[in-house]
């Protein structure tokens, strides 16, 4: 459960989103303009921001808030879909979703952002694993034993967990974990994935946690 700060001037849409996110277990504070916004920021885990607002527009509000609160994820939710708007939005915001959106999609993106910013000490249950993301603890539910991962292995696993359900290419993984440019033919990543699988998979020969997506990359699906 997270605290969602939601700015939307269209009443019908606002009510709907507030209701839907609340039903999904979040606590929603819905404002119809940027006025009085500051008093809610400190207790919020994520902000959903419309662009066309009375008074200050969403871009200006978002930019200001991101400057002071870099760790607060901001999701722009707008009916403005032009390339320029998206580019401007993503300049500071962490995600940009266009209307008319599907509520499942909004909820999924909120989850992704919360996970990426580690707003909660999330406990992820993944097949036979229980993972405490903040403490870096991985437990085998069946044996009730902790699985010891090396720093790099946990780092890699954590990167997958931050991007749950997303397919990550070799380049994205390598650059995300090692922070260096991936060079074609580099085997480092594959070696680390093999070691990681040996530790967390029930049967490393046919992995089910870290899926191989042929020709594209890898995925950890919840």
């Amino acid at each position: 459960m997270a605290h969602v700060l939601y700015i939307e001037d269209e009443r019908e849409i606002g009510e709907w989103v507030e209701k839907d996110l609340t039903a999904r277990g979040h606590q929603v504070t819905w404002l119809t303009s940027g006025e009085g916004l500051d008093s809610y920021i400190s207790q919020s885990d994520i902000m959903i921001l419309d662009v066309m607002l009375p008074g200050l527009d969403g871009f200006s509000i978002g930019r200001r808030i991101k400057k002071d609160h870099a760790t607060l994820p901001i999701l722009m939710l707008s009916a403005r879909t032009s390339v320029e708007d998206k580019v401007e939005g993503l300049d500071f915001a962490d995600d940009y979703l266009t209307k008319p959106f599907h509520p499942d999609e909004l909820a999924a993106r909120v989850e992704v952002l919360l996970r990426r910013f580690q707003k909660q000490n999330e406990i992820i249950e993944l097949q036979h694993l229980i993972i405490h993301t903040k403490d870096g603890l991985v437990v085998n539910r069946e044996t009730e034993k902790e699985i010891q991962l090396t720093g790099k292995q946990f780092h890699l696993f954590q990167f997958f967990l931050k991007h749950l359900n997303q397919i990550l290419t070799k380049e994205q993984l390598y650059e995300g974990v090692w922070g260096e440019r991936y060079l074609e033919g580099d085997k480092t990543l594959m070696v680390h994935i093999r070691y990681l699988r040996e530790k967390i998979e029930k049967n490393p020969a046919s992995p089910t946690i870290i899926e191989t997506i042929r020709g594209i990359g890898y995925r950890v699906k919840l």
Binding site: I13, S82, T98, R214
Partner: protein, 453 residues
């Protein structure tokens, strides 16, 4: 008038004018030097007659025709005429006094000698004056001889002596004139070339930059006109950008105003969905959902199409690793294909970097993947491959649908492919579609340099 004085024409006129004047002045100066320099010595008696008369007079005026008197006379004249020769033959035909006279003259003069000498020297060179001295009983001959050149006019003398100097001077002057003209035109040429270079420079917006005007002449005027033009182009570009901004804004607002009610429709439909519905109600609601998605996509395509047609779609090309780009794009579509049970085959080898706008490229792939999801569902297959042959590199997207010629239940594909077409061509790429009942193959090609050119 002031402007004329600053012009190149005026400057060149001055050079020409100076050239003409200097020639005249040079002749005048040379002449003056000749006259002043050579005329001083023989102011009065440049004339032969004058010399003759004076000699006769001088000889007659002798008091006594003695050796001493004659010698004095000779010395006196020698001062005046250094080149002259003189001698005295007495009544007995004996050469008494001789001063620098022509060599080979007899010491003893007979009548015949005198007549012969007289005949020889008459109108000859040296100029010779023979005067008789003394009284009738004791007449003697006093001869004065001088080279005729001393009677030449001074200019001729000067030209004979210093003619080469005049030639050298004239030649020098012609060379000087050519050099001055050359330097003059060379400088004009250099300035023009510099101007040409300056006109070729572009700022970050691809606009020409103003040049610095240093002189007020014709080239200076040209530079000013150029600067004026640059200012106008800038103003025009600003206007254009403003119009573009307004147009984009209008389209963005229109899009926004269409999507907002569409979102409300979805909100209401979703609310209805939460109720317990009959099967018919569920079906109707699903139809509404699909229609919302279709309208959404159509609005998007329509806006993009309008912007592309007007060349107002933001275009920022850069070098991208195309295989990686396609792989990442496909990764986002993968779940959608997976959900519809597609067989997904990916075989992307590393290709060269492509110089494309990632947003455009993403849009092209989105439209093509979406088309497959909507129109080639029956095939349950999508293949994405790279191709690298001599003529081109390509990204190939295959499906096993019923082909593009078959009327799909939706006709929205047209505008989506029109956008793909415009974007592909806009990025100097090529594409081709092979479609049949068995499936469709779309190839986006980047021609290799040097093959097509």
């Amino acid at each position: 008038m002031n402007r004329f004085m600053k012009s190149l024409l005026a400057k060149y006129m001055v050079i020409i004018f100076m050239a003409i004047i200097v020639v005249q002045i040079a002749y005048f100066i040379v002449g003056s030097i000749a006259i002043l320099g050579f005329d001083l010595g023989h102011k009065e008696d440049v004339d032969a007659n004058n010399v003759e008369e004076k000699w006769h007079k001088a000889v007659q005026n002798l008091n006594m025709v003695t050796q001493e008197e004659i010698t004095n006379l000779f010395n006196e004249w020698k001062v005046h005429y250094p080149e002259a020769g003189m001698f005295w033959v007495d009544g007995d035909g004996r050469m008494q006094v001789e001063l620098d006279a022509t060599e080979g003259l007899p010491k003893q003069w007979s009548i015949i000698d005198i007549v012969k000498f007289n005949k020889e020297r008459y109108d000859g060179d040296p100029f010779t004056v023979m005067a008789f001295a003394g009284d009738k009983e004791n007449e003697s001959l006093v001869v004065f001889e001088v080279p005729r050149t001393i009677f030449d006019p001074p200019l001729i003398t000067a030209s004979q002596k210093y003619g080469y100097l005049i030639l050298v001077g004239v030649l020098g002057f012609i060379i000087l004139f050519i050099v001055v003209s050359f330097v003059f035109f060379r400088r004009i040429q250099k300035r023009l070339l510099r101007l040409q270079d300056a006109m070729g420079i572009r700022d970050e917006n691809g606009l020409p930059i103003e040049v610095v005007t240093k002189k007020e002449d014709e080239i200076g005027q040209l530079e000013k006109s150029f600067n004026h033009m640059v200012t106008e182009i800038r103003a025009s570009r600003m206007r254009e950008q403003k119009e573009e901004q307004v147009r984009r804004e209008l389209i963005a607002n229109l899009s926004h105003d269409l999507r907002t009610p569409l979102t409300k429709v979805r909100a209401q439909a979703y609310t209805i969905k939460q109720q317990h519905l009959s099967e018919e109600g569920e079906t109707a609601l699903r139809a509404i959902e699909i229609s919302i998605d279709n309208i959404d996509r159509l609005i998007d395509n329509l806006m993009s199409y309008t912007l592309l047609m007007a060349s107002k779609y933001q275009f920022v090309p850069k070098e991208i690793d195309i295989s990686r780009f396609v792989r990442e794009s496909l990764a986002t579509w993968y779940p959608a294909f997976e959900k519809d049970n597609f067989e997904i085959q990916v075989s992307l080898e590393s290709l060269n970097n492509w110089h494309v706008d990632p947003i455009w490229m993403g849009r092209i792939l989105d439209n093509l993947f979406q088309n497959i999801l909507r129109h080639a569902k029956d095939g349950k297959y999508i293949g994405v491959q790279s191709e690298n042959i001599d003529q081109f590199e390509a990204i190939v997207i295959l499906d096993h649908g019923k082909g593009l010629d078959k009327e799909s239940e939706e006709k929205g594909a047209g505008i989506g492919l029109a956008i793909v077409d415009m974007m592909v061509k806009g990025m100097s790429l090529e594409w081709e579609i092979e479609t049949s009942e068995q499936g469709t193959t779309i190839r986006i090609k980047r021609p290799k340099k040097g093959v097509n050119d």
